[in-house]
Symmetry: C2
Subunit: 505 residues, 2 copies
């Protein structure tokens, strides 16, 4: 059943144009996907909604959005530690030649947590326990640290560069420039949305683990001398969050603790108010996207999973059909990045806190776009409600806000429907509307439901008499009759239905 | 003077956060730039306006927006011809080691057009004319074809891939999937916005020639059996376009011919109506962005500049302070791409035109995002109008739609101003508003003008009495008094000022 759901989503995605393997007409490389017409619209809608929520409507501190280069020079990633440490343990099968990620393989086969172990230790575990190639049973060999960054040669070949492994680095590299040009004062934040790249050894599960993926990140910079947190903490701090503590994890598959974000800080579970602020806002954001709070948890990463400099990492995990999976990484990076970049570049990256020079501390929520899109698809997919599959997408991110349909294939109806369609297309509002006159009205409703279109607008014979149309709601298939003049406003307002009070909007 | 303008733009960009070299705190590689807070907002606004114009409001045919992978496999780019032919002629200085693009060097030094010549021919020209290193006067050596694609190794190293050199290829690779999932009929179009990469030998002029850049592209697919063009040609065809014909170019620095898009097709200057349709729409689009028609021309590329398969390429060139430069490439690619991908992949990429199987022909307008941003900055920059520099940005793309200012630093005014600001921030409209209370009101107006903020909203003592504020227009510095309740609507409508009738909106 769980596997069936994942397979249904993939089939729907291919059939209706949400996503497909890159260059699928050739032997495509694993871990690369393209978003088709519906997927691209949905991604744009998600990004716009995220920017709206975490940038434009953020008034607890200033948030500056930047858009940086995907190719970064060697020096920058040497300083950040990625050149030396951004690797996964790998081994190859002697028989079939397939490459495997050794730590994952051990975890899958033996159920052991081995993060943080050296390549020699992992090799020893494989040997002792007789772990073999899951593909052909062959012997594993060639153990080594596999580098996760894609390496490039720039210019005539004299310069080495990499595709960025995270969007965060551009923000640290531009920190001084942004602080100067925006005359920024602490606390302030910088956000970025864009592609990042990791040369994973064995990418899997369609768009869940990709080699090229999109991130929506914020780095909030604050003075380590202050514990009062952001301006908006007063209200947001009351939000209930579910934390899977380290203690619970050590005791096996423990239960998450439910508590208010405010109390999580006071009880020392979450290290500071900026981090707690984002955890709370994430719960509200994903609730507004149709994910029930009980299917979200913040897993406090274990010491061996946490970088040495971190003051605490909390992964927002969501329950998928195949288990819990991270969709947002939250990290308290302290002053690590600014300190190392300051040391390597020679630039002073400190700021002033009422006369005291401080290197700002950083909290980073990092959202994985494709995983979120996939999560939304899983939580929206319904079989058995109607005679066809139904996608009850959150109305704000659904690709199609309305389908305009002539009831029958008669010139009087199609020409009036076309007029209504083109007028809606000219709207200044962000309402994407399509026209469909192919097949019976029932089949067209089915197609609209499967694409997750919020509304269907049908032009019938009564329309020709009184300029009214029927508006059918995707979720309950109910129809109401409205005036054509009101359509633009109705479609627009419908996008925001259910967002009031979630804090996500 | 022209150089001064370019330098003023670069300084303004650094000072106010439009753009800066990537990783500027290190030795940055040439040809990589990051967009800062104002630049990123401006880019987003430009992209949204472009999508609005060329996707959402396009009703002459269906346009599907996709979002594909930046990393493409070897097979796909082998088929497209990029692996074999996407090169520039290069030579290195024996003395200082600097790499040069030989054809450009010959053009700069000798004023000769040498596009299409072989590396041996170029080497001969350099030798005969004694062309030396423009940097140090040293002898040039090591002549070779330099590959413009960035090469990557995927997985354990067994797979070769490239960063895409143009967004177009994803569209051809997904052609069959899109036609199937959208049940598309000819003519239809596919659009894409995203990064592309070219390992230029000597990138220059800040964001004009980059190694990593953004494109906004459309590929329109149509049946070669039909000459009637798109549905909207009737109206759009009347637009006057300026074409620099091949004949004029051969006769030296000729004048562009002015004629209606419709006549350009009938007189055989432009090869078909789909291409003419886009040329006309581009003129309107850029006119709406403040570029006067007389400073735009479509240069018909000479035979030696045109790929063998092309049915005609027309570069939209704009007059910059340093000369005419392409900002949009328009290409009639015929059936080349679908034919080669069909041959290499074994997939049937033909479609049906009333019972006849055809391989669709393609017209491609390809917009360069960073060059357009730079062009807009040059055409918006004013010195001497006020005591400070002024950016008269097109209101639709300006990063800041309004600045909210308390007249003086008094609690009663700042707290009321903050209320007005946060309320506007919560708006569902795409109006980005900032708050500024630092320095005298005059200095704050100056800062707003320099950032190109459309409006300044000032909260003064009268506000406290009657809930009115002053709204100052950037372009004429005039102030009017309005009710706070009307602000959201005023700022929103102001964004579209001047767009009526340009066809760009």
């Amino acid at each position: 059943m769980p596997e069936q759901l994942a397979e249904s989503i993939v089939q729907l995605a291919l059939r209706r144009g949400f996503f497909n393997p890159t260059a699928e007409i050739y032997r495509a490389s694993a871990g690369f996907y393209d978003l088709g017409p519906l997927g691209a619209l949905m991604k744009n809608n998600l990004i716009n909604y995220w920017i709206d929520t975490f940038v434009k409507r953020e008034t607890s501190f200033d948030v500056y959005l930047i858009d940086g280069s995907l190719i970064l020079p060697y020096d920058a990633l040497k300083a950040s530690g990625h050149v030396d440490k951004f690797t996964d343990p790998m081994a190859e099968c002697k028989k079939c030649g397939r490459a495997h990620r050794v730590d994952q393989l051990i975890e899958d086969v033996l159920g052991l947590k081995v993060e943080g172990k050296s390549i020699e230790e992992l090799q020893e575990i494989v040997r002792k326990n007789g772990v073999s190639c899951p593909n052909c049973g062959g012997e594993l060999a060639g153990f080594k640290e596999h580098h996760l960054m894609f390496k490039l040669s720039v210019g005539g070949g004299e310069e080495t560069a990499f595709l960025r492994p995270e969007t965060a680095q551009n923000i640290f590299l531009n920190f001084k420039r942004i602080a100067f040009s925006m005359r920024a004062k602490l606390p302030f934040a910088v956000a970025q949305v864009g592609k990042s790249f990791r040369n994973e050894i064995s990418p899997r599960q369609s768009i869940i683990r990709l080699r090229e993926f999109s991130q929506m990140e914020v780095e909030v910079f604050f003075s380590p001398l202050r514990a009062d947190g952001p301006r908006g903490f007063e209200e947001v701090g009351d939000t209930v969050i579910r934390v899977l503590t380290r203690e619970e994890q050590m005791r096996g598959n423990g239960e998450a603790v439910e508590l208010r974000a405010r109390d999580a800080v006071e009880e020392g579970i979450v290290p500071n108010r900026f981090l707690a602020y984002y955890l709370a806002r994430e719960v509200r954001f994903f609730q507004s996207l149709g994910i029930p709070p009980e299917n979200m948890r913040f897993r406090h990463l274990l010491p061996e999973e946490t970088p040495h400099y971190s003051g605490g990492n909390f992964d927002l995990e969501v329950k998928f059909s195949f288990g819990w999976k991270e969709i947002v990484g939250n990290a308290y990076r302290r002053d690590y990045d600014l300190t190392v970049h300051s040391r390597h570049s020679g630039e002073d990256l400190s700021m002033d806190d009422n006369g005291v020079k401080v290197v700002p501390h950083v909290v980073e929520p990092s959202f994985g776009v494709e995983r979120i899109l996939y999560a939304i698809l899983e939580y929206s997919y319904r079989e058995g409600v109607r005679e066809w599959p139904l996608l009850m997408l959150p109305r704000i991110v659904s690709p199609i806000k309305a389908v305009v349909l002539p009831l029958l294939d008669r010139e009087a109806l199609t020409s009036r429907a076309w007029e209504v369609y083109t007028a809606l297309r000219m709207s200044r509002r962000p309402i994407y509307v399509v026209y469909d006159d192919r097949g019976s009205i029932g089949r067209r409703y089915a197609r609209a439901d499967e694409a997750g279109a919020n509304l269907c607008i049908t032009i019938d014979f009564q329309t020709l008499k009184d300029n009214t149309v029927t508006v059918r709601d995707r979720d309950n298939a109910q129809q109401v009759r409205v005036k054509i003049d009101e359509l633009e406003e109705i479609i627009f307002n419908d996008m925001y239905r259910g967002l009031e009070g979630t804090g996500g909007g």
